[in-house]
């Protein structure tokens, strides 16, 4: 199920429908108050939020951990149980239909102002409707914006699907009123880090599992753990995935359906915020007043938004032949067990594959292509050559299986000018010349440093759009770079080089562990089909016409290669013996300021640590 097709071009995708159209025609109030009768899980025994809590607190698992903790800490069990109850109070959602209706009303208003259209694949909704009845469902949306989970709940309400309970970071809870509102619309809050806290983990995992086992509501969480500031998918986390899969492993559920959802924005609401964050400006703390200040965003045009509900993935078929469920036979199931090495590997693999599905179903707008080209041409491009190259790139992307939303029957120049207009904040167009630039009224006195900073914000914002299409070009690009640097046309040499690069970049991009050979073959296949390469038995030869494509692909990876080089140079030249991790990012940033995002720096360091080029010494 998860072995995505080797010939991505042939992939069939569903059509979209704009859900805002209907909203623009009829009353939002009446809509918010309409009769909501979701299709439910067949085994559902409805239960109240308070009952749910007592089930969790009384569960064998939690009781067992409470006893453990109490004997370790010396506190009485009542005391620990009380603590557990408080943790649960802090965590639990209190879903209320009235609050949901309020959100539906306000969000209808907001979405209509923000977006030209919100497109959803209705076939995906139908599949979800089916899946919800058969097995407990876990929704796994991509995470690019705060909008994501609001939109998810909004859509599920719209299509009469059960409203999800959503794992949200604790940050939201600090937003006074909003935090509680979110709680009442189904969010439950988890602390960002609770590594060693046994009790917290037990309450949390039991809470999620209980809801899942009962089929209480679909569970929604973000595999990536947090919003991706770069619009590149983040390396998935496996903790929650393990929690939702365990009821299947232990036989408590026949199956669990995982539904990857890809949410893409033509213009991300947080675009410049992210860029600033990546440049070291701390993330503004989530607060209600902050939100009110951010009202400004409501007055802008964010183009269209696409939500693609992927095919439900059955945990049972995923685990077939990979997980030996009988390993759980010899221990009472309520006793918590760390996942075995095999299980861990499986979870990791599954998580990567799910993120890959998210990536593949992510709709790409023409702007993404334009941004890619503009970044490769820092001095700007003539509109005519931009048009020509965008068209070329469009065909390349389609050949590589990109899910491109290119308007039918519209001239290429028309499409481009529309995109440029939407993203006018990031560029300047004058006399047929397009260039990335700061168009916000330039302050009179800008220090050179500030100017560089402003420029970096634009570049990183733009890069976040280019990043959206990287997964399409990634494998061929790795091959292109490998061919360039291997200095040999022998297949083995190129593969080794490919493998090295792939390994190097596996913190940067979503590269399924262990898929090295497949990725290599896919890259060869795609480039061969484009006529760029000839793959012989032992050799890979570039065709005469392939030069431009290879050059383009190399320059796709160029910023990353350069960035990693900068990090390495810094580590070699500048560091003294004991650099702390905290100091690392500001230090590298001051070492080389230009277009280095903290994300890349972190990834580079992680890769170097993984490859044992750098050693971490605990102090």
């Amino acid at each position: 199920i998860l072995s995505y097709p080797r010939h991505p071009v042939l992939k069939k995708r569903d059509d979209f429908e704009d859900v805002l159209e209907e909203r623009r025609r009829s009353s939002d109030l009446r809509y918010a108050l309409r009769c909501y009768t979701p299709t439910l899980y067949k085994g559902l025994v409805p239960c109240k939020v308070s009952v749910l809590k007592s089930i969790v607190l009384q569960s064998d698992h939690l009781q067992c951990v409470i006893k453990q903790v109490s004997s370790e800490s010396g506190d009485s069990t009542e005391c620990v149980a009380e603590e557990a109850s408080l943790i649960l109070d802090e965590m639990a959602h209190r879903m209320q239909l009235s609050t949901v209706r309020f959100f539906v009303f306000t969000l209808s208003k907001a979405f209509k102002r923000l977006f030209r259209s919100v497109c959803v694949n209705e076939e995906g909704i139908q599949r979800l409707q089916q899946a919800v009845q058969e097995h407990p469902v876990v929704l796994l949306p991509s995470h690019r914006s705060y909008m994501d989970f609001l939109m998810m709940s909004y859509l599920l309400y719209m299509f009469d699907l059960p409203l999800p309970v959503i794992a949200a970071g604790m940050d939201f809870m600090s937003m006074k009123f909003i935090g509680e509102m979110l709680r009442m619309s189904g969010a439950f809050f988890i602390r960002r880090s609770f590594g060693g806290d046994k009790l917290y983990w037990a309450v949390f995992s039991e809470y999620v599992k209980t809801m899942l086992r009962k089929g209480y509501a679909p569970i929604e969480f973000f595999l990536e753990g947090t919003r991706s500031r770069t619009c590149k998918s983040l390396t998935p986390k496996t903790g929650l995935l393990n929690i939702v899969m365990e009821p299947f492993f232990k036989g408590e559920l026949f199956d669990v359906s995982l539904v990857p959802v890809s949410i893409s924005y033509e213009r991300v609401l947080e675009e410049s915020l992210y860029a600033r964050e990546l440049l070291g400006v701390p993330k503004p703390k989530e607060s209600t007043s902050g939100l009110l200040k951010a009202r400004r965003v409501l007055s802008e045009d964010y183009g269209s938004m696409h939500v693609y509900f992927g095919h439900p993935v059955s945990v049972r078929s995923l685990a077939e032949g990979k997980i030996k469920r009988s390993q759980y036979n010899l221990l009472p199931r309520y006793i918590p067990q760390k996942p075995s090495v095999d299980t861990h590997e499986f979870l990791n693999d599954a998580a990567f594959r799910l993120v890959r599905i998210q990536e593949e179903n992510m709709v790409l707008k023409p702007w993404v292509l334009i941004a890619t080209l503009l970044l490769q041409n820092p001095d700007g491009m003539d509109l005519s050559s931009l048009t020509e190259q965008t068209d070329w790139l469009r065909h390349l992307a389609l050949a590589f299986g990109a899910f491109l939303d290119w308007p039918d029957h519209e001239a290429c120049s028309e499409v481009i000018s529309c995109s440029l207009a939407l993203h006018r904040r990031l560029l300047s167009v004058s006399a047929g010349h397009v260039q990335l630039s700061v168009t916000d009224a330039p302050q009179v006195e800008t220090t050179p440093e500030e100017a560089v900073f402003q420029r970096a914000v634009v570049v990183l914002s733009c890069a976040s759009y280019r990043n959206q299409i990287l997964h399409v070009f990634l494998r061929p690009a790795l091959l292109a770079v490998a061919m360039q640097s291997a200095n040999s046309s022998r297949k083995d040499d190129i593969y080794n080089c490919f493998n090295f690069l792939r390994n190097m970049f596996s913190n940067e991009f979503i590269l399924c562990p262990g898929d090295s050979v497949q990725d290599f073959e896919e890259a060869c296949y795609l480039l061969m089909k484009r006529g760029v390469l000839q793959v012989l038995e032992h050799e890979i030869v570039m065709s005469a016409s392939g030069q431009s494509t290879l050059a383009f692909l190399c320059s796709v990876l160029d910023p990353f290669l350069q960035g990693y080089q900068v990090v390495c140079r810094y580590l070699c030249e500048e560091t003294n013996e004991n650099l702390t991790e905290k100091e690392f990012i500001p230090a590298v940033r001051s070492f080389c300021f230009v277009s280095l995002s903290s994300d890349l720096q972190k990834n580079a360091l992680a890769a170097l640590l993984r490859l044992k080029a750098v050693r971490k010494v605990k102090v």
Partner: protein, 606 residues
Amino acid sequence: MSICYHTDPMKVVYHLIYFAIGCYETAYKLGLSLSFRQEIMKWNGWGYSDSRFLFNKKGQAEFTGKRYRLSGLILPSLKDWFEGTFGANLQHKSPPTVNLSAVAPPNLNEPFIEDLKAAGVAASHDPEDRVFRAHGHCLHEIFALREGRIGRVPDMVVWPSCHSDVEKIVELACKHNVCLIPYGGGTSVSSALECPHEETRSIVSLDTSQMNRILWIDEKNLTAHVEAGIIGQDLERQLNEHGYCTGHEPDSMEFSSLGGWVATRASGMKKNIYGNIEDLVVHIKMVTPRGVIEKSCLGPRMSTGPDIHHFILGSEGTLGVVTEVTMKIRPIPEYQKYGSVVFPNFQQGVACLREVARQRCAPASIRLMDNEQFQFGHALKPQVSSIFTSFLDGLKKFYITKFKGFDPHHLCVATLLFEGDRGKVLQHEKQVYDIAAKFGGLAAGEDNGQRGYMLTFVIAYLRDLGMDYYVIGESFETSVPWDRVLDLCRNVKERIVRECKERGVQFPPLSTCRVTQTYDAGACVYFYFAFNYRGLSDPVHVYEQVEHAAREEILANGGSLSHHHGVGKLRKEWMKESVSGVGLGMLKSVKEYVDPQNIFGNRNLL
């Protein structure tokens, strides 16, 4: 016929009175025929030839013969249930074909036969005798027979009449290198009786049916010494004549033998009072190629190293032939009472059984049927004799579904059997019903309980009816810790449904289960599964794949490989996983020592 209760403890008419009383006895008196059993029993189906289900000309189901309580009765709702459940149609028949000419000529070992003749042991190589002993009752075995496909069958049959006959046969088999396959009642459901295809030696079926005497009864120690070929119902009946019983009542007791019980680790319905076969045997005598294995005394328990009985129990005919067994016996209980409880759903029912087990107050038998089986049981209700009864039935139904709010698509029934002295039974009954009430259970009368147990005996006949109309099915069992019972039942049933769908079965299968035994630490669960195979080119293969998947699911959910059916050849592939490599190695080394020539070459278990 109905059950009567006598207060005189020595003269109680046994509850199995509806069995054909004396059918064997008459035969024995008339002078024994070696193949007597095969004359009164089907050769390609279950049970007695005269007893079978059929749809009469009016399309109503009836059960023929005179042997059972259901015999001769019309079952008006069976047709609708059958058609509704399986999407079967009475117009679409799949009758058996008869083809005994397909039996391959025997591969005889002449020197062995000559020595055998000299020793005076009865033998035959008549095709009918051989085919009859070439199979158990697995679906694929019966299906093949009905289609007239006959595979490898034993080359001859021998009938030892006592322990020393068996010693002679085994000695000669070793001498002439002949493969022996012990045959008791022929009710195996694990492919244990199938002749291994790779066997090139002459295969001799050793039929123990002539070793069927009770050799002595010891009233001081309450034990009986019995030849292992005796059939369950004969053993009980003959002991009853002396005022005793063993209390061992596996569902196959009409046809299965004492030796078979020992060789497969059988379990009886009333094990809560009498224990399973391993609890019942005091002494076992088995003839192996190395000689006779037995203990030196009849002490009730010993600490003399690993219990050698446990090498014999469950050895499935791979080590030798069990010839004589000393068994515990009990006075026939003074009083018996059936009962039943309706629960709003299966979960509540299981919770109740668990509580009963916790309090260690399980009646002689307690079984919990799921909703599908409850409905199936309903379909087997005979035509009611009076308007009054039908009115009463209607009232009961109204009370349970409308007044008590039980959903007819969720409710399930537990059947109970109490045994003992009258006062205690009544007290016990109250205790159990009180527990049931805590789990929302409503007492549903003796009659329902009794019909539940009767079904056990006739259900095997139903498979033959199904096979007449493109429906095939089978049962299988497992044992599982209490906390996993519900999960296992749900997952296995769902797996069956899903696998059938994936393999192109056109109609949803019947996939149902019941909890049939309770233990301190878990329960025995029994699954029934059947489907309509129209449109499938190789139904048996599909069936086997689904059963395989179901077993995988059982093991993945913490269930055992088998509770009492045994491993045979059907479940051999999972033995290592089940008992560990070392465990399997231990068993193999025993086999290696006891039977180095692999004389007992049925290739079961290991």
